[in-house]
C-alpha cells in the first residue's frame, strides 16, 4: 500500500501536509505524536472516510478513484478500520456485528455469515459473548468484537486509530494481545497509539507525526533507544514520565 502526497485542510488549517507513506505486506507501522498532529486524519484518509484534497492511495499497485462508488466500497472492504471508541452497531449482538457486513456487502447467507462470525469471535477469545449486545460488554470486549468485525472481511491492511485510548487501564492488555497476535500472524497494519512499550515490541517502523507532517521515522530501536537525540524519544519520555 502506498500513500502519495496526501494533504488535507479543515477550516483553513492544514491538517495533513503532503504525507508519503509506503507500507509493505506484513509490516506493522506505528504512528505516534501529539494529539491534533494528524494521525487520526491520516488513517481516515487511508480508506477515504475523509477525502484528501491532494494525493492518492494505491493498494497493490492499483490507484483508488474515490469518486467511483463501487470501486471505493470494494477498496474499503480490503482495508479494515478500528476506531478509538469501537463504533459497534448498538442494535446488533456481538456475532451479528461481525456478520452483518458479510451478509449485506458480500451477500453471504445468514448461516454462512454467522459461522464465519463465530470463528472470528473465537479468534479474539469472545465466542462465549456472541449473543450479548454491545451495551452488555466491557470496553475491551467491545474493541475485540470490532477487531473481529474488521477481520471477517479478510482485509489486506488494518488501520487502528488509538484502539486502546478509550479503555480502562486494566483492559488495555487484552486488546493489545489480540493486536500483537495479528502482527505476528503477518497482518499489514498501521496503528496510531500512545502505548510506547507496545510500539517498541511490535512495530517494524515508528512514524512520528506533528503538525500534519511525518517528522521522524525509523525502526523503534533507532528512534526510541535511550540517548537517541530524537523528537520521538523526547515526546515518549514526556508521556511515560507523565504517567
Amino acid at each position: 500500500m502506498r500513500v502519495v502526497g496526501i494533504s488535507k485542510r479543515l477550516g483553513g488549517r492544514r491538517i495533513l501536509d503532503a504525507i508519503h507513506l509506503e507500507l509493505f505486506k506484513g509490516q506493522t507501522k506505528v504512528l505516534i505524536g501529539p494529539s491534533g498532529g494528524g494521525k487520526s486524519t491520516l488513517l481516515q484518509c487511508m480508506n477515504y472516510l475523509i477525502f484528501p484534497e491532494t494525493g492518492f492511495i494505491e493498494l497493490e499497485g492499483q490507484t483508488i478513484d474515490p469518486r467511483n462508488t463501487k470501486a471505493l466500497c470494494a477498496f474499503r472492504q480490503q482495508v479494515g478500520m478500528i476506531f478509538q471508541d469501537f463504533n459497534l452497531f448498538d442494535h446488533l449482538t456481538a456475532v451479528d456485528n461481525v456478520a452483518i457486513a458479510l451478509r449485506k456487502v458480500r451477500g453471504w447467507s445468514r448461516r454462512q455469515a454467522l459461522e464465519r462470525a463465530m470463528a472470528e469471535l473465537e479468534r479474539v477469545g469472545l465466542a462465549d459473548k456472541a449473543t450479548l449486545y454491545p451495551a452488555e460488554l466491557s470496553g475491551g470486549q467491545k474493541q475485540r468484537v470490532s477487531i473481529a468485525r474488521a477481520l471477517a472481511m479478510d482485509p489486506k491492511v488494518m488501520l487502528l486509530d488509538e484502539p486502546t485510548s478509550a479503555l480502562d487501564p486494566e483492559l488495555v492488555s487484552e486488546v493489545l494481545a489480540v493486536i500483537r497476535a495479528l502482527a505476528q500472524g503477518g497482518m499489514t497494519m498501521v496503528m496510531a497509539t500512545h502505548q510506547m512499550g507496545f510500539a517498541r515490541a511490535v512495530a517494524d517502523e515508528v512514524l512520528f507525526m506533528e503538525n500534519g507532517r511525518i517528522i521522524e521515522q525509523g525502526p523503534p530501536a533507532a528512534l526510541l533507544t535511550p540517548g537517541a537525540a530524537t523528537r520521538t524519544l523526547d515526546f515518549c519520555s514526556q508521556l511515560e514520565g507523565g504517567i
Binding site: R76, F89, H91, K104, Y133
Partner: protein, 224 residues
C-alpha cells in the same frame, strides 16, 4: 336525567362506530406519515443538493399551514382540480398522513442526529454503501429512538382528526355533532366524545409503550 341517559344510550353505538372510523383514519395517516417521514428524514440528513432542498421544502410547506386549511385546500381545491374524485375519508387520510409525514420526518431526523455518527463511519469502513449503512445500521436504531416521539405525534394526530368532520368524514366528532344538533343534549354528548378521544389516546400511547419495550436493545440506555 332519564332523557339524557336515553339519548346517550341510543347515540353510543352510533358514535362508537365513528370511533372506529377515527382509528382507521389516524392509524392510516400514521403509517402514511411514516412512509413519507422516514425518506424525508434520510434526505434531510444524508441527502445533498436538490434532494435535501426538496425535503426541506416539503416539511416547510406542511408545517406552515393549518390542517383545516390543508383539508379544504386538498379536498375541495387540489384533488378536485386534478380530477381526483376521492371520498372524504380517503382525503382525510391523505391530508393527515402528508402533514404527519412532515412532523414525523423531524422526529426521525432528531433520532438520526442523536445516534453516534461513528457507527455510520464504521459501516462505510466495512465496505457498505451509504444506502446500506442507512438502511441496516442507522434506521433500525433511529426508529427505536423515535417511538416516544411517535407517541406524541399519535396523540396530536388523533385530536387533529376531529377536524376531518368539516369534510363530512363520519368520525367521532361528526357523529357527535350530528346527534347533538338534533337532540340538544350537547353537554353529555360532547363529554362522551371527549371520553372516547381520551380512551383512544390512552390506548394508543399504551400500545406504543409496549412496542417500545418489545424492541428495546438489551442493556442499552440503562443507568448502571
Amino acid at each position: 336525567m332519564q332523557e339524557i341517559l336515553t339519548v346517550l344510550w341510543e347515540a353510543a353505538p352510533f358514535i362508537l362506530e365513528g370511533a372506529g372510523i377515527t382509528v382507521v383514519a389516524v392509524v392510516g395517516a400514521m403509517f402514511l406519515g411514516l412512509g413519507i417521514g422516514v425518506p424525508l428524514a434520510v434526505a434531510q440528513t444524508y441527502g445533498t443538493g436538490s434532494v435535501r432542498r426538496m425535503a426541506d421544502l416539503y416539511v416547510w410547506f406542511f408545517r406552515g399551514i393549518p390542517i383545516l386549511v390543508l383539508l379544504f385546500l386538498f379536498y375541495f381545491g387540489l384533488f378536485a382540480w386534478i380530477g381526483l374524485n376521492l371520498s372524504a375519508m380517503t382525503a382525510t387520510v391523505l391530508v393527515l398522513g402528508m402533514t404527519s409525514g412532515a412532523y414525523q420526518s423531524q422526529i426521525v431526523r432528531g433520532a438520526i442526529l442523536a445516534l453516534p455518527q461513528g457507527q455510520f463511519k464504521a459501516a462505510l469502513a466495512l465496505g457498505m454503501s451509504r444506502a446500506q449503512a442507512v438502511w441496516s445500521i442507522i434506521l433500525p436504531q433511529a426508529l427505536r429512538l423515535s417511538i416516544p416521539g411517535w407517541s406524541n405525534e399519535y396523540s396530536i394526530l388523533l385530536k387533529d382528526s376531529a377536524l376531518a368532520f368539516v369534510l363530512g368524514t363520519s368520525e367521532i366528532m361528526a357523529r357527535t355533532h350530528f346527534v347533538a344538533t338534533r337532540t340538544y343534549q350537547h353537554l353529555p354528548l360532547y363529554l362522551l366524545a371527549a371520553a372516547m378521544y381520551f380512551g383512544l389516546t390512552w390506548a394508543g400511547v399504551g400500545v406504543l409503550r409496549l412496542v417500545e419495550r418489545r424492541v428495546r436493545i438489551k442493556g442499552y440506555g440503562e443507568t448502571a
